[in-house]
Structures are given as C-alpha cells and as structure tokens.
Amino acid sequence: MSKTVDRPPRSHPELPEVLPVAAAEPSGAWETVKWVLTPIASLRLTVVLMALSILIVFFGTLAQVDHGIFTVLQNYFRTWLAWIPFQVFVQFGQVFLSVPKETHVSGSFPFPGGWLLGGLLLVNLLAAHLVRFKLTWKRSGILLIHSGLVVMMLSELITGLFAVEARMPIGIGETTNYVDVANTCELAFVRSVNEQTDDVTVIPGSLLAKGGRISDASLPVDVEVAAYLKNSDLLEHSRGEAPADAVPRNDGWFFTVAPAGEGNGFSDKDDSPAVRVRLLKKDTSDVVGYFGLSTLFEPNAFGRHYLFAEQHFTVDGKTYTIALRPQREYKPYAVTLKEFTHEVYPGTTKPKNYESTVRLVDASRGEDRDAVKIYMNNPMRYAGETFYQAGFFPDDSGTILQVVRNPGNFAPSAAPQWLAGYMTMPVLSCLMVSLGMVVHFGLHLLGFLRRRYA
C-alpha cells in the first residue's frame, strides 16, 4: 500500500478531516487497478448517486397517486431505466399548489432506475473500500456501516427475486391445504372425476396476459383471450336486463366484468384481474363458449359473503367448470381454523384485536401443532413460512392469513418462535449499521471532546 500523499491542509480542525484522495502515479498492477478504481470510488460520485436515488424515490412516491405499488415497483425501483411522466409534477402541484384537477401533461423523460442506482452505489462503495481500505479502529465503524448496507441491499434483492406472499382464507371449522398467491391469477378447468378427485388444468396468468390463442394437449379446449384486465370491477344487472354472459349471485343480482384502474399505492386492496375468453374446439373455429371471468367471482373475494354461480361448459360429452382464481399453491401441511375472535373498542368499529386459533398438521414432517394463536404482531412460523393475521370474513365466520416465504429469513427451524422473527437479514443489517454509526460517531465525539477539553 502506498502512503497517502498530498493530504490537503486541515483547514477545519474541529471537523473530521476530509478523506484523503489517492492520486499517486500508477506503478505496478495494484497501482493500475487503483488508478482505474479511484474515479469510481469518488465521494463526488457517491453524492451524485445519492441525490439521484432521492429523486427516484420521490418520483416513485408521487407515481403512487395514480398507480399500484406493483407497477411502481416495476417501473421505478426494480428496473434499470425508469421513464418518469411529466404528469408526476402536475400531481404534486394538484395536491400542494392547487393546480386544477383536470390538468394533464403528456410525455416522459428517462431517469436511472432503482436497480441501476443501487448497483452503482454498491460498485462505488466497494471500490472506495478497495482503494481506501485500512483496517484501523478509526475506520471500523465505517466498515461495519457499509457491510450492513450491503447486507440490506442483498436482502432486498433476495426479497424481490424469491419472496412469495400468499393468502390463506379459512372458515371456522374448515381445513385448508393450499394458499392463494397474491396478485396472481390462473384460469382453471376443473372436471370432477369422482367424489374425492377433481381433474384440474390451469393456464397461468402470465400466459393469459400475453393474449392470443392458447392450445395445449392438457387443455380440453383451445382458449382465445379476447381481453386481459389487470384489475376489474363488477357491474350489477337485474335479472331482466342481464346480458348473456352475466354471472348470477346468491342474492339474485347478475354481474359482468368491467375494467378498473389499478389500485393505487394508498389503498391496501389487492388488484382483481379479469379475463374475457372464447373457448374453441381444439384446432377448429367452433365456439364452445364465451366467458367474462374475474377473480372477484371467487367465493374468497368477498370473504364468502357473496357466492357467484359456477361457470360450466361441455365439450366432447364432458362437463368442465371454468374459473379465474388466484394462483393456488398446495402445501404438505393443512391448517384448521378452530376459533376466530374479532374485538372492537366499545361503541366503535375500531378493531381492538383479531385472533385466529389454528391447528397445523404436517404428516410429511410428523408435526402437529394445536391451539396456536395468531394475532396482530404475533405470527406463527413454520418450515420457512410465516403466517400472519391479515383479515377476516365480513361476518367473522372465518379468517384470512397472510403466508409469506422469504429466504432472507435464515432462522433454523429449531430456533424458538420469539427469536426466529429476529433472525432475518434486515435485522442483521440494522444491527450492523446502527452499531457502526454508534462506533464511528462515538469515536468522533470522543476525539472532539479529547481535543477540546485536553
């Protein structure tokens, strides 16, 4: 390692010294590498990247007035290049500067996306440590802070790539062995084989979103997607005036599917995708049926409060049920809801507590947990998955659990429940960074006090 050269004069002895910038002539391989890395490691770059990060976060916040969080994630944060519509500034003006509600400006400008900025910050950080690396007490805090930040970035990456959020609605007394993956859908064809067994074929939502004609040997028909809606509403019709494809509900009204704006970032409602399909006899243009289906037709969409008639069609003498439902994931375990309580503060509708008492049986692992209580801030953890109290049926006849699998939570299965919740990458990173700052700023403060009071 070369010695630091040309340390700038310490013009402010009361402030921490300005970091030395290595400016040596390249000599030897390391020096060449260093010569290359030095500009990448510059603090000027750090500051510029931080400023750009602040801006993209700000734009991504404004964008949530109009767009769902998933769209914003894709278009602003989990992308290399973001296109920022000029309309976000108008929206800021509408909320804060009384710009008229109708104002609309079209067009957009490119801006580095979250992945690009995060990646560059990471490169900048690593380069800085390579160039200026010194293992001294004085630098230990910085090292801890920055490694903690790397852990956090990795954690976000792992979450973005691998974490799965799903819902598990269970009525009181029912037992469920599958979850509905959030914000997904699949078109399911179900044929009853006998009393116990159904024959199920599904088309994943990603394929439906592409549109066009879908043919596959395992499907009983060819499917032509006329329209795919990211989010949908239901239109109400009375019996007399209902169109042919309207679906009856248990209260006598009929419903058809209508497009809806994406849920924005301020509502906690999931989007309800919908699809309009034409079913054709395989490799022909003979129409078997015409369906407008939404995940809102699923019994769980309204917590079993409303039930819509199942949709059937018959082809080659076999009858199938067709439904658009959230993507189902079957589990090796089954959860039984034994009890659900929903307390409110007296005289109000403000929730005081929701609590599900469940039994979890996993034959594959020989596990049987009984009378587990799940309530707000007290989830159940099992086999890498966490079960949270997320919602309930409108008449309190059942619960909705949120089931999350995140590989960033590294607690071994033997860890006790109370500890397992804290054995996660964010917690680790938080500890590292906070401790690092305490050390770094503490050393500064000590030095400051020593100089001043010596």
């Binding site: 991504g60 007035v65 509408q94 979450t159 707000m376 700052m437």
Partner: protein, 601 residues
Amino acid sequence: MTLLSRLVPWGVVLVGALVLFVKMSPPDDDPNRMNLYEFSKIPVMDQGRVKPIDTMARTTMLTISNRQTFKDGEQSGQPAVKWLLDVMSSRLSEKSVALKHEVFRIDNDQLVHALGLKDKPEFWRYSINELSGKFETIQDLARQADKIPEKQRDAFNGKAMKLYHDLVTYVQLSTLEDATVIPPAEAGKPWQDFRDAAGAMQHGGAESATPEKFFAMLVAYAKNSPTDFNKAVASYRQYANEVLPEQSQKAGFEVFFNHFEPFYDATLLYIFAALLAAASWVAYTDPLRRSAFWLMVLALAVHTWALFGRMYLLNRYGVFVTNLYSSAVFIGWGCVIIGILLEVVFRIGVGAMVGSVLGALTVFVAHSLLDTGDTLANLEAVLDTNFWLATHVTVVNLGYVATFVAGFLGIAYVVLGVATPLLNRKTGEIFGDGSNVNAGLMPRAFQNMELGRVLTAMIYGILCFATLFSFTGTVLGGIWADQSWGRFWGWDPKENGALIIVLWNALILHARWGGLVKQRGVAVLAIVGNIVTAWSYFGTNQLGVGLHAYGFDDRLAVALDCFWGAQLLLIAVGSLPTRFWWSMRAPAPVRPAARARAQPA
C-alpha cells in the same frame, strides 16, 4: 457579574412559575354557582375509551365547531362541558339555551348560500335556531353527496355530509341516545347508554340507580339550581369513585390536564425564551441568555410532565407517540432537549434560540392538528404494541428532531451571516468578557473560534445523530412491518419519505467528507433537510389525503407551501455570493475572512 444580572434569570423564571401556578389552580368553587369543574370529571364511555365528560364535550365540540369553547350569549370563552350540559338537559326545560348557541361551523360559502344562511365572515358558526327549517335540505344534500363516489366529492359535498353528521350528533346528545354515560354496576360488564339504562330501570330490571343519579344532575342543571346541582354531582362522583376507582381517578387527572393545558403553557414560555434569546444578541447579553435558558428549562419541565401525564392516561409507559398530534409535541420536546444540551456546551444563545423556536412551532403544529379528535384515542389493533411504539416510533421521531434542529441551526448560520457581522467574529468577543463563555462546559478553544465555525461544528454533530436516528428508526419500522405482515419494505409513501431523510442526511455527511461543501454548504444543505423532513412528515400524508376530495382540507397544504417557500427563500439567500454577506465583508479583527470559504469546492 453584578448582583442584578445574577438575579434577572431568577426573576424571569419566578414570573414564569407564577403564571403556571395561576393556570394550574382550579376555577373557584363558589357554592352559589354550579360547579362545572367537578361535573366535568364524571367518567363516561366515548369513542371506545373511558374519559371524563369534559374530554367528550371538548372533542365533540372540536368536531362540530373546531373550537373547545363557545359564546354563551354575551359571555365568550365558555367551556365545552357547559354546552354539553345545555344540550343534554335541553328537553328538560322550556326555555333551553342550547338552541341559541352558535356552534355549527359551516366554512363553505357555497353551502352557506345553498342553505340561505347569512354570511358570518371569520366566524361561520350557526345555531340550531338559525338552522331550523333547513334540516330537510341538509339531509337531501348529504344524501346526494353520499351517492357520489368518494373520490369525486368536492368540498361542498364533504361539508354538507359533515353538517348532517354534526346535527345527528347533536340530536343524539339532546335525546341522550347513543350517549354511553352509565357505568357498569360491576367491572367487566359493558357501559350502557342513558336510554337503555333508564328503560331497564323502569321495567324493573335495574342493576343500579345510576341512571337516576345521572338524571338528577341534568334536572338540577335545567332547574338552574346550583345547590341541587352541586349536591347531585358530588353524590354521583362519590358513586363513580366506588364503582370505578381507577378510572375515576384518571378522569380527574385528565380534567386537570385539560384545564392546565400544559403544552399551551409550555409554548408561551418557549416564545418568551426565544424572545429573550434574540434580545441577548442585541444587548445585556449574558443575563438575558441565561434567563432564556432557565425559562426554557422550566418550560421543558412542564412539557415533560405533560408527556408522562399522557403515558399515565394511556397506560403506555415509554410510548411517547401514538398519533400525529403526539408526535408533534414529542418532536418539540426532543428539539428543546437538544437545544438545552447545545446551550450547556456552547453558551452562545443559539441552542436556546433554536430549541425554543422549534418547541413553540411544533406545539403550535400539534394544536392545529387537534381537529383530528381525541388525542388519547385507542389504537388500531396493528398499532397496539408498546414495544414497537416505544422503539420504532420514538427513534424515527428523534430522527425528525435532529434533522429539524440541524436545519434550524443552518437557518441561524445563514441569517447571522447575511444580516449581521457576527459570523466571522470570535465567540469570546461577541459574548462579552468571556465570563459566561468561560464558565462550565464551554470549551476554552471555542472562545478563539469564529461563530461560523462553532455553528458548523454544531450542525455537523447534530447531523450525525440525525443520520443514526433516522436510519435506525426507519429500519426498525421495516422490521415491525416484517413482524406484522411479512414485508420488510413496501415502498409505500411514508416509508419512502423516511428513506429520503436518511439518504439526505447521509448525502450531507458524504459531501462534507468529500470536501464538496464547506461551512456554508453544510448549513444550506441542512436547511434543505427541513424541506425533506416536512415532506416525509406531512407531505406524504397529504398526498394520501389528497386522493379523497372529501375530507381534503387544504389548510395543511397551504401551511406546507408557506414552510417550503420560507425554506427555499433561506436557501436562496444562503447561496448568495459572499460579497452580499455582511459577515464576509466585514474584516475579522484577528484572522482574515475564513480562508476555507474562499476555496473552490
């Protein structure tokens, strides 16, 4: 130091303490007048929690009238509980005054004209008598508004719905419906509203004589008989003490709290402290500065007592913040503590100034947030965890505290630099013969340092704290979210706002370390921190609220605009070339104008 200058601070603090003492003492208990103060301690169940009837009256009136007092005939400033008594007993007397009280606030001229009411600029409050004959119109307007999807409602629709709702509240109170004022005869049973309880009593199923006792107070009040009223109140209070000992005690404390208005009193003291600190820069430096300091300490004592009083009432020790209101008063408290600490170390009046200004400002902000209702309201199930409230919420608010203090120190730097010649002078010279500066913890070295450098050192130190607290607080929030619903980071507006604060503080520190900014740069960037923090604190909420035209109140947006505008102006001033800075033009007596500032960035 002369004796007089020694005594001045004590005199100031004594006057402050006297004011507090006067405010603390309960109103007179003349037996020939109705003792409303005693009545206001009666515990009732309202909005899901047991509270004194005083708080119920105040929050109801705040909703309806946006005030906690009203004008009774010629007498203004009458307590809300008097209005409540007038309303509750209105059916018991033939000439009820409740109909005449002008309390229904209609601050939408479109609605005022639609109802054919007369304009009352600056006041906009109407009585039942003025509204009589228009009830059906109001109901129709409210129904029409209700049919409009929430997002498309305008202010007129919103106000019509609110007025209708306020009238329903009034009717329910006057008929004693939906007023759960009757405590359970034994613990664990539900409270009853007056009608149900009285009905049960008449049909022989009475569990207690409570409704009768409650009714006796109203009857005595309606008869305008102070002796009977005071007797009935005393009897009821005694009964409540027996049935609900703990809750009655808390109700009594809460009434004292409401009456004392500790946050309001602290604000007054902070304002005086700020004035004294400002004056200390002009003349009579040391006594005034110390007066400001000790007055601030007195105000802080009141402020602290009030925060812990809230914890006692909420039964959540260690939890400072449960809603936006309490977060504002907590932020003020933190700012004052930092100000006092700065003043202890750097005895130059800047800590006192910044701390007391922020203390007063935040409590003022809290007060204007009052119309959100009961500040001690119960928490939603998801928030009902003392652990996270005490950790995440406290720490994240400390992050706001430190960022604001740094920002206001930045303002002090710019103002003192542009408008005074002091920035380039040594603190020892500015503050007299050094007798004060020398004392205590003030490091000797600071006397030989220019004010500008001392200020920058303060800003830098506070920014380090700001970075630590805002980062830790934000991440703790993520961990809480992970515990609550399995998502560490959701990129929602509030989280993003907190992230921006962390990034901004880190940016200033890195810019400083990289030598990109010097003293002036740090000060100006710290002022930008005020904009960023206000965005995170209010802006993101407003963005959410702004979605719903109904309930959208643009007062907050206007206040934010003003605050942001002021900060932008200060930033612009702070960025003026140094030849416009008085401090930079004036040659420093010992050293030439700071070299560092002249260096290219």
